[in-house]
């Protein structure tokens, strides 16, 4: 037997039946586990944690930040029109001190009526212009409104 095998044989002979004291209380744990009916992990067994990959954690963090930013933006955008729309309410509330609402005054009613008439007048198509532009046939068709109009008469 060469030197290489000799030392391995010595090592094997020395340690093959070598004993060390078993950990204290080990049998009680084993007996409990066996009585429990299954090979449950030992009391000091480090349970395998459900490890979330680093890339997934980073993605979740980025998504959370984006969600918070989006939520804040929506809140800000939503608040802005409300404060704008609230102005008339504030104006109205300012008018509650027995200030007569603007449209209730006779002058304002008159002004409003005139403004409405002016609007109607400006939007009414002048019959004469229409007849000139479209010719006799069209003017004849417009007769019920402005009477018979002959372009040559104008």
């Amino acid at each position: 037997m060469n030197d290489d095998q000799q030392w391995l044989k010595h090592l094997s002979n020395k340690l093959n039946e070598y004993e060390e004291p078993a950990p204290e209380g080990l049998w009680d744990d084993i007996a409990r586990s066996v009585a429990g009916g299954s090979a449950v992990p030992g009391p000091n067994t480090k349970q395998r944690a459900r490890v979330m990959p680093l890339w997934l954690r980073r993605t979740c963090a980025a998504a959370a930040v984006a969600a918070i930013v989006a939520a804040l933006w929506l809140v800000i955008v939503d608040i802005a029109p409300i404060s704008h729309n609230q102005q008339p309410t504030e104006t109205y509330s300012n008018n509650t001190d027995n200030n007569i609402p603007a449209l209730n005054t006779a002058d304002n009613r008159r002004e409003a009526t005139e403004e409405m008439e002016n609007t109607v007048a400006t939007t009414r198509i002048p019959v004469r212009n229409l007849a000139v532009a479209t010719g006799t046939a069209v003017a004849a068709s417009a007769q019920p409104i402005g009477g018979t109009i002959n372009p040559s008469e104008s």
């Binding site: 030392w7 094997s12 070598y18 004993e19 084993i30 000091n44």
Partner: protein, 182 residues
């Protein structure tokens, strides 16, 4: 700590397989010391040794019905195999076997065999526990479980050449540690 005790392995295994708690405790008391030393050669941390022993014995008692007696010592060999497998599984779980494949053939130690003949078992055990996990595992499997380099390679997921170089490294480191003791 070797004793001259005797146990009828076949009878005690049959009783334990039938669910006899006394037989199980008898098996535990008879083999716990040897299995503790076996596991402690692979897994150094005391808490880990306890866990591996616990899981090994639970596995032994839950599957002892599958044990087939093949002569004196076959029960002990069967139990040791389970304990070694549990210890290796623990090392793999903790990723401690990844160092096995490291090529460290260029360590600057004189090539000589360790003088283990004049050491007592406890001292030798203490030195083996100080070896790096990779070469300690290979040394244990080769010298004490009598596995070939091909079998070790298959068990640890390395090449037979790496297994041989790890054994060589264990030999050199052990020789150096023994030299430093004297």
């Amino acid at each position: 700590m070797t004793g001259s005790r005797h146990i009828d392995e076949q009878q005690i295994a049959t009783l334990a397989a039938a669910g006899n708690a006394d037989a199980m405790k008898q098996i535990y008391c008879f083999y716990a010391g040897e299995l503790t030393a076996t596991v402690a050669r692979y897994v150094v941390d005391a808490d880990a040794v306890r866990d591996v022993l616990h899981d090994s014995f639970v596995k032994i008692f839950s599957s002892i019905g599958n044990f087939s007696y093949r002569g004196e010592g076959s029960l002990k060999a069967w139990m040791k195999r389970i304990a070694v497998n549990e210890a290796l599984a623990r090392l793999k779980d903790e990723n401690k076997l990844s160092t096995v494949s490291i090529d460290d053939s260029e360590i600057d130690i004189p090539d000589e065999s360790p003088d283990v003949e004049h050491l007592d078992a406890a001292t030798l055990m203490g030195l083996i526990k100080q070896l790096p996990t990779g070469c300690r595992t290979v040394l244990n499997l080769y010298a004490l479980e009598h596995r070939s380099h091909s079998e070790i390679a298959a068990l640890l997921g390395i090449t037979p050449g790496t297994s041989a170089s790890q054994l060589h490294r264990a030999k050199l480191l052990l020789a150096q540690m023994i030299r430093e003791l004297n």
